[in-house]
């Protein structure tokens, strides 16, 4: 088979090598626009896993590559005049220039034709090349010309991601991967540094675009930018220099393609490496993914033979795409972490470091403990005791928490009193008209108090505290019990009239609520206060107000559900007014030592609705008013919204609320293991977690004996 590869980067050359050394060798030509010795970028990083794949794919080049490797196993985090070291992260790096030289040499040895200085200008050139080859490979990077020849099939998207960054080198040789965080008068800057040979390190500087502009970097020359960064990181550099390699400040382009292969003039065309996909540089996986693409594509041709290139390309895409998408998800989480890391500068170094190391969701508390038991022991001791005098401490999930006078035995929240530090009731209506369904619990009569008192006693008997979630269903009320669905309206003759800020029904078939009058507002506020007093009388350790999930108080917050024109609608401040008035009145009615919580929808996940920024603002307002705990939830404000479900889907939102509004948070979002809870807590993303696994007793048996 005659193969033409556009682009002599790592993926193009490596694919050339693998195809040329196949049992039935292919005739490979690599075309590259730049000269053979052009260098862009400094070092590239590989994990141990990638090294294993390189060893199996081509042993001679593996030997050459690993000969010149810089290897390390630690990540150093330089933050607030301390350096924390976490070990057990096996990485290697090599100068990009060196890697390319090895691959060029090896490719030449195998008879791969390499032509440098070959400009491929556009789709016409691609079509001409296709006419004369059996397979055309686009290994030509982020701005792939090959991709442009069949955009309707590839369906590429390119989206800027994360902060602004610049790729420098330095003659300072780090002995680990090094994150450096430096506060400047313009804002926080961070460095991603790692060694790649005995003489030099990669030194990437990154900051939010606003900080970059404030610092005037958008108007600086190359030399001035270097001088700025050298001064900012003078302590770390210790007299060493930063070196530019035509380096410019960039936003990272996230590349995705609907399909990775197409046909041009009836010739199969396939994308590999950055042309097919990128992953934000903060997870350091670009070159690794590119070379793994080459390995997978080479293997697909071994498996399917050259008679059926279409099958090989399908196989290649099917194998690689899910893996790449997982990395892209992690990279997106990582990019977003770094674009908001300035919100974390109040965290103590152990928590800051733990949050950084677990930013992409790929590494948990348990993974870190396996890599570096001492590091995690240190974090656990700091978390449990706020100091480092102890040698051991329980993991975060099992540490106590104090909120005003309430002492929780552990950080896990459940719906039933066993194992949970805090048991939180379902929405308990402050009036019969505020129920979700006919059988919803209420707290508006003496009999309700007796029932709640029994629940408190039950919780106490298990060593748990009981918190009551007081609410009013608003326009989501008068629905059937949830066994066969939620938001299904009761038949007319069983329903009761609904209240809401505006007369807007929730979902298909839902009753249209009445817009609340001033009297209604006063009545509901008084009902919340009365219920709170009853809750205290019943012995509840925590009172929480439901301002979430599109129920009554939440529907005041969102512009999607609040169309009022009085003091309770319109501006964000006005929309917050009624929920805050209720919270204030309840706070005043509670004893000083009883903590007040709020379940708060911090984003609507719907166009025109509340954004996470709005959520942080609202949380701050509640905290300033005396709220001690924000239970972070999202969505369900309107029936048709766009949630993104996965394990821990609320953790990042909770991080933003906790560290943006500086208020303790409780978060759920499908945390299904103790490890997931430990990770959220140790990272400071929340202070309490809804633990899904508390719903089912642990059973070791696979089934019942006959």
């Amino acid at each position: 088979m005659k193969v033409t590869i556009i682009g002599a980067g790592p993926s193009g050359l490596y694919l050339g090598i693998l195809l040329a050394k196949a049992e039935q060798p292919h005739e490979v030509t690599v075309l590259e626009r730049n000269p053979a010795d052009a260098t862009f970028g400094w070092g590239v990083v590989f994990s141990d896993e990638t090294l294993g794949a390189l060893r199996d794919a081509d042993y001679p080049s593996y030997l050459d590559i690993t000969d010149t490797f810089a290897r390390w196993d630690a990540i150093d985090i330089s933050y607030r005049d301390t350096v924390l070291r976490s070990r057990g992260h096996a990485f290697s790096a090599i100068a990009r220039k060196q890697l390319l030289a090895i691959l060029q040499r090896r490719a030449a040895e195998l008879g791969v034709v390499q032509r440098f200085g070959q400009e491929i200008a556009g789709p016409e050139d691609i079509a001409a090349l296709c006419a004369d080859t059996d397979l055309l490979v686009g290994a030509d990077g982020v701005r792939s010309v090959v991709r442009e020849a069949a955009t309707e099939t590839f369906r590429p998207t390119i989206t800027p991601q994360g902060g602004t960054y610049i790729w420098y080198g330095t003659d300072l040789v780090f002995d680990a991967f090094r994150f450096i965080f430096a506060e400047s008068e313009h804002g926080l800057f961070q460095v991603h540094g790692y060694p790649f040979d005995e003489h030099a390190s990669t030194f990437i500087v990154e900051c939010p675009e606003t900080t970059w502009r404030k610092a005037g970097l958008d108007e600086m020359s190359e030399a001035d930018s270097i001088a700025f960064c050298e001064e900012l990181f003078a302590d770390e550099l210790g007299g060493h220099r930063l070196m530019s390699n035509k380096s410019t400040w960039l936003r990272f382009p996230l590349v995705r393609n609907g399909s990775w292969h197409a046909r041009v003039a009836d010739t199969p065309v396939v994308l590999v490496g950055d042309a097919a996909h990128t992953a934000h540089f903060t997870i350091g996986s670009g070159t690794k993914l590119a070379m793994e693409d080459a390995i997978a594509l080479g293997a697909a041709f071994v498996r399917h033979g050259s008679d059926n290139p279409a099958a090989a390309l399908v196989h290649y895409e099917r194998e690689r795409k899910p893996i790449v998408e997982r990395f892209q998800q992690a990279a997106t989480d990582s990019a977003e972490y770094f674009s908001r890391v300035h919100e974390h500068t109040h965290l103590a170094p152990p928590q800051f470091a733990f949050n950084l190391l677990t930013r992409s969701g790929r590494i948990s508390h348990a993974n870190l403990a396996q890599r570096d038991a001492d590091f995690v022991r240190g974090v656990d001791v700091w978390f449990a005791t706020d100091q480092a005098e102890h040698a051991i401490a329980p993991p975060p999930a099992f540490t106590p928490l104090a909120l005003r006078g309430l002492r929780l035995a552990n950080r896990m929240v459940g719906g039933v009193p066993r194992d949970a530090g805090l048991v939180l009731t379902p929405l308990t209506a402050v009036s019969p008209g505020g129920r979700v369904s006919p059988d919803s619990p209420t707290l508006c009569a003496d009999t309700d108090v007796a029932r709640l008192r029994a629940a408190v006693a039950d919780a106490h008997a298990h060593g748990s505290a009981l918190g009551v979630l007081l609410g009013h269903a608003g326009r989501r009320g008068a629905t059937r019990p949830p066994e066969r669905g939620v938001d299904i309206p009761l038949p007319d003759d069983e329903a009761w009239p609904l209240l809401a800020p505006s007369p807007l029904s929730f979902g298909p078939g839902s009753q249209t609520p009445r817009a609340m009058t001033d009297d209604d507002l006063a009545e509901v506020r008084d009902a919340f206060v009365a219920a709170a007093k009853w809750a205290v009388e019943a012995g509840c350790g925590l009172v929480a107000l439901d301002c979430g999930y599109g129920y009554l108080l939440a529907s005041f917050l969102s512009p999607l559900t609040n169309h009022r024109t009085d003091d309770y609608g319109g501006t964000a401040e006005n929309r917050l007014r009624f929920p805050l008035e209720v919270a204030e009145a309840v706070r005043a009615a509670l004893p000083d030592d009883c903590p007040l919580g709020v379940r708060l929808t911090v984003t609507d996940w719907a166009r025109g609705g509340l954004t996470p920024e709005d959520g942080v603002t609202a949380a701050r307002a509640f905290a300033e008013m005396g709220v001690d705990l924000v239970h972070v939830v999202a969505g369900q404000t309107v029936a048709e919204s766009t949630p993104e479900y996965r394990r821990g889907f609320l953790s990042t939102l909770s991080d933003r609320v906790r560290n943006g509004a500086r208020v303790p948070t409780l978060v759920g979002g499908h945390l299904t293991t103790v490890d997931a809870v430990n990770t959220v807590l140790a990272a400071g993303r929340a202070d309490l977690c809804v633990a899904e696994f508390l719903r089912t007793p642990a059973a070791l048996t696979a089934g019942r004996a006959a």
Binding site: G485, V486, G509, G635, S641, Y645, H670
Partner: protein, 269 residues
């Protein structure tokens, strides 16, 4: 996990005799369900009609749409059709519905493609509001689809892919279920395509998938390449789905031949 089998109502040239023959054999075989697909602009037998035929020749097996494209029908009509099959089958009917993937089906039906999600929600609300008695599954892979499933349905119908893709979707289904405050857990159904026989049968099955999914462009090739064409591939697939918590895996034949049901029965024994 139970294994279901597809009634070949969308493979070309399916006749009434073939469908009833297949239904009889499925009912006599080791299968937990017999399921149909739904496509308007394609040579196929309308799913509720196909299942109606199956009700008269089966006694035991659960009948299912996997899935029916709800918004192609007005909500009241959809409910009427579902109730009809439910009644004819004496309750042995699971209604799987989703929004489908083809715009031309909507155009032909005169349904509003832009409102497809909202329309499906309205239909589900109608079914629930009128006390439709049968089991309802909802399919789809988007956040809104999972939310809709958790709000209205009894479970989730996965659209296909390797076991790993099912595992990821199942996690989302559970997360959505809890987020919406539903008690218990969602039922989990899934599906895959197969063709068992000599090279010609396998080729015909893969050609059918290429044609059926031609509207997806190059993805049709991916679907065709995932067609399960050996006993071993089917066993691996079944094992993978069972390990990820699937409760009903429906295997859909890709050629119009009653022989496919028997061959599958032999493999899964």
């Amino acid at each position: 996990m139970e294994i279901g089998v597809g009634l070949p109502n969308t493979t070309p040239g399916a006749t009434g005799a073939l469908l009833t023959d297949c239904a009889r054999r499925a009912d006599a075989g080791p299968f937990g369900s017999l399921a149909v697909l739904d496509r308007l602009v394609y040579d196929s037998v309308e799913p509720f009609a196909a299942l109606s035929a199956a009700t008269s020749v089966t006694n035991r097996i659960q009948l299912a749409t996997m899935i029916a494209i709800g918004p192609l029908r007005p909500g009241a009509l959809l409910a009427k059709q579902a109730e009809a099959v439910h009644r004819l089958a004496d309750g042995r009917f699971t209604l799987g519905i989703g929004i489908g993937a083809r715009r031309d089906d909507y155009t032909a039906a005169g349904a509003d493609h832009r409102r497809r999600g909202a329309l499906l929600s309205e239909q589900l609300a109608h079914l629930r509001g009128t006390d439709y008695p049968g089991e309802i599954l909802v399919g789809g892979n988007s956040g809104p689809a999972f939310a809709r499933m958790a709000r209205y349905a009894d479970g989730y119908a996965h659209g296909g892919g390797p076991p790993r893709a099912f595992a990821s979707a199942a996690t989302k289904a559970h997360a959505a279920w809890r987020d919406l405050g539903r008690p218990g857990a969602p039922r989990l159904w899934a599906q895959g395509y197969f063709a068992l026989g000599d090279d010609d049968v396998v080729q015909a099955g893969c050609d059918y998938l290429r044609d059926y999914y031609a509207f997806t462009g190059p993805f049709a090739e991916t679907i065709a390449s995932a067609n399960l064409t050996t006993g071993r591939a089917i066993k691996d697939f079944v094992r993978g789905y069972a390990a990820e918590g699937c409760e009903m895996l429906v295997l859909l034949p890709t050629v119009s031949d009653v022989d496919q049901i028997d061959r599958l029965a032999e493999v899964i024994g």
